[in-house]
Amino acid sequence: MAMTSARPFIKSRLLPGLLLFLAGAVIYLLFGSGVDWSQQATFGLNPTGRTEALVIPDLTLPVKASVVVLSLVAVFLGAWQMARGIRSSGLAVGLVAFAFVAAFLLWATKDNSFSLVGMLSSSLVRATPIALAALCGVISERAAVVNIGIEGILLISAQTAVIVGTKSGNLYVALIAAILVGGLVGAFHALMAVKFKVDQIVSGVAINIFAVGATSFVSSRFLEKDINGLNNSGTFPTISVPLLSKIPVLGPVLFENNIIVFLMMILVVVLHVVLFYTPWGLRTRAVGEHPKAADTLGVNVFLTRYVNVILGGMIAGLGGAYFTIGAVGRFDEVMTAGKGFIGLAAMIFGKWTPFGAFAASLLFGFADSLQVKLQILGIPIPSEFLLMAPYIVTMVVLAGVVGSAMAPAADGVPYEKN
């Protein structure tokens, strides 16, 4: 028995502890060792441009000392792990990742200044389409329909929004059109998956390929020839919520945004309540876990799946509208750039819950906006590598951190009535 008790110690305590030590050393060597003690980094806590938020002083930190503190955090975690064992490995990984990113930012900002609020604000904005795609995934997969065609829905509804917006001159009409088109594509996927029991991956891939082809065709054939008549919709204005937007730091980040960002945040809360506190949510989850059980209790499995997938399509439609009428006001070919897939990754990372998916989307949004800011700061890393950042984060998260995530038990399995 002595042997059996010694081995788990090495496996479960010593090795992770050493890894945490190593992480501390790496943080110092990469970001602390080449810096002089006198160098400072300034982080802006006020948004640039017009704002209603109260002005507070910016944060100025000595780079080397701060990096040393951050690397000591990792070393301390390692010591704690070896001595007592850390129960939540996710927490430890999260803290070290935070220390790494913070140290990196300090190092990149040395003798320079950097708007933290701007960074956070753009993280949320960039997270918006990812989060909407993830919510679409959550609501579909909770009812056990895998929707890999989200990317395609984003693309089609992005184009729909810009055309309707330009033609009608009313962005709200454009928004509704995008949502309806998203619902329509969702309905097609639901029909394939529920009625005809087509392999859901095949149906989703078909939607993606169709979307790329169709939108590119419309774009090159019509939009490019008549930019002002078809592809110039303008974007939603920024709305400042009275009072709330005056809160320092959080105010401008959360409460000065356009309508799509607000709708996304509201949807996160609403979906959470619906899924876990209403009869519809209970039935949806039952259908996703054990459709036969739901069926024997008189729950209509097919109807539940149709409604969820169509609602999911509408949410993705909203996400698609963000790309054009929410951000740049025109459509470019394949402008969604894999955000639908990253949304699916966020859904998995968030363990199929709305809040989890939202948090994961923020992480991806952060990686995305970090890459842009770092190019501006002009740090000596090739921009191609920085462009990879969001995708590398996706892979690392999916491969390493998530581990055995709990997908709905019947996910992707068509229901056969006897």
Partner: protein, 521 residues
């Protein structure tokens, strides 16, 4: 008494099979009506019709004298019919409350689930009918017996008066079966009427007021338990005389074929579930391992067959140490394995029968010539084995998934017994099988024993253990608490050991129990 349910001339055919052929059945208020029949006799089809899952081709359903149409489970629930399915219809990751309320949710403000109100009502039902369960527990954390109580509560929560219990004891331990019978008696006392579907003769005689026997989709007869014996019921069920007693010669143990010393094994969740097990099996004897399911038997068998690594200890098969050896090498040393989960570990269900018959030997001559499979030889082999082992199938080229449970098990037995073996490890070999198949598989196991094979039999059916074993080991919480000769083991004694009572104390109590019985009668 009044008739609450009447089925008249129910007929249902599936492509190629007449599952129900003009079945008549009545259910009186407050009675337990057992529906007895082998697998495939049409019991479950009939009940699925009653519950609205299938639509009958012909026939009438009358409830309290009124003819009704039942098109969906919703209709059935509205008519006061509730069904406890054989495979529980529970969502494992949800709580008891959520499972009970699913489909008939109570809400606050018309939108939000009122879990507290439902939990309160569940507690009321629990108390009224003696169905002990925690409304806030997650289904996945509950033992099988408790899950079944949740199923019954689900039905009562919908205010059903007619309860259909489909093979309710198939998954229960002897103690849990007793608990269920108590619940059934309470339900009947409170005026509920029950249809009890089963193929277990003893249970029918113990609990039923009337027994209707089905065979091949037809009613063979309806009898009262006082008027029949197990033998009579068995022959009604199977359609011929059946021997319920396993005939065997005294054991003639030879050399040790399996030796296990201080074995420790972890399960999938890394819990140490086998903790220091030691025993040996000799050629020509059956060692039965009794125990309530989940006391380490599964992991013990996994370790012996190489499906899971061992933590510490020693396993010797025919004198050779097996130390985390690959399953194929273990099989090649003369071990046959009838796995607990025949559909997951015993067969490749989508493969045709003839391929399943050579899963352990396909790479050896005559089935393979170098890299090429000899399809003709494999097919001939399968045809011969199907004949010899009485596998009932239209052809050996149909997928294994199309066979009934009994015939699937016969395919496994045929495969394992057709190679030279020294040791047979049989885990739950007759679970879920009908009387005819059980009889057949038991006789085959005993035949192997007579030929000099050592047999390790793992079963949670105490009757099976007592019928086949020469020695009985009882497993409790990962340890073997006692090994006793079968001739000296009473059912009470073994039952107490299975419940974790210390062997000395169990011996005393078992004697008391027997004496008490003698005094009563």
């Amino acid at each position: 008494m009044s008739t609450v349910l009447e089925l008249q001339g129910i007929t249902k055919s599936f492509p190629g099979v007449l599952a129900n052929d003009h079945i008549d059945l009545t259910l009186e208020q407050g009675e337990v009506h057992a529906l007895l029949g082998e697998n495939g006799a049409g019991k479950t089809t009939l009940m699925n019709i009653l519950y609205g899952l299938y639509k009958p081709d012909e026939g009438k359903i009358k409830i309290k004298g009124n003819e009704v149409e039942i098109h969906s489970p919703n209709d059935a629930i509205r008519q006061g019919i509730g069904m406890v399915h054989q495979h529980f219809m529970l969502v494992p990751v949800m709580t008891v409350t959520e499972n009970v309320m699913l489909g008939v949710e109570t809400t606050r403000a018309g939108v939000f689930l009122d879990r507290a109100a439902v939990a309160r009502k569940i507690r009321e039902i629990s108390e009224r009918y003696g169905l002990e369960v925690d409304p806030d527990a997650y289904i996945k954390d509950l033992p099988v017996g408790a899950q079944q109580r949740v199923e019954i509560i689900k039905v009562l929560y919908r205010e059903a008066d007619i309860l259909i219990l489909d093979e309710p004891t198939a998954v229960l331990t002897p103690q849990e079966v007793e608990g269920l019978f108590k619940i059934i008696k309470t339900l009947v006392e409170k005026g509920k009427s029950l249809i009890f579907i089963t193929h277990k003769l003893k249970e029918v005689l113990a609990i039923a007021d009337r027994i209707t026997v089905l065979r091949g989709g037809r009613v063979v007869g309806t009898v009262k338990p006082q008027e029949v014996t197990q033998e009579k019921l068995a022959s009604m069920m199977v359609g011929r005389e059946v021997s319920l007693v396993v005939k065997k010669q005294p054991a003639n143990p030879g050399e040790v074929v399996l030796e296990v010393k201080d074995l420790h094994v972890r399960d999938e969740r890394h819990n140490l579930t086998v903790r220091g097990v030691s025993f040996e099996v000799r050629a020509g004897e059956v060692l039965g391992i009794a125990g309530v399911q989940g006391n380490g038997q599964t992991e013990l068998v996994y370790a012996l067959t190489g499906l899971t690594p061992i933590v510490s200890g020693e396993i010797k098969i025919a004198g050779q140490t097996i130390h985390n050896t690959a399953p194929r090498q273990i099989l090649e040393r003369g071990v046959a394995h009838i796995p607990e989960d025949r559909q997951r570990h015993g067969l490749v269900l989508p493969f045709p029968i003839h391929d399943n018959m050579v899963l352990c030997t396909y790479y050896l001559p005559p089935f393979a010539n170098g890299m090429v499979l000899q399809e003709k030889v494999i097919a001939e082999n399968a045809a011969r084995l199907a004949e010899e082992f009485d596998v009932r199938t239209p052809s050996v080229f149909v997928p294994a998934s199309s066979l009934s449970g009994g015939n699937q098990q016969k395919v496994i037995v045929a495969r394992e017994f057709s190679r030279p073996i020294k040791l047979l490890i049989a885990s739950q070999p007759t679970r879920g099988l009908d009387v005819g198949s059980i009889e057949y598989i038991h006789s085959r196991i005993i035949q192997k024993r007579s030929e000099g094979t050592g047999v390790l039999l793992v079963s949670s059916e105490l009757d099976e253990i007592m019928a086949l074993s020469d020695r009985i080991a009882v497993m409790y919480k990962g340890q073997i608490v006692a090994i006793v000769p079968a001739s000296k083991a009473s059912k009470e004694y073994l039952g107490l050991l299975m419940a974790g009572i210390h062997p000395d104390e169990a011996a005393e109590k078992a004697v008391e129990a027997t004496e008490e019985v003698e005094r009563v009668f």
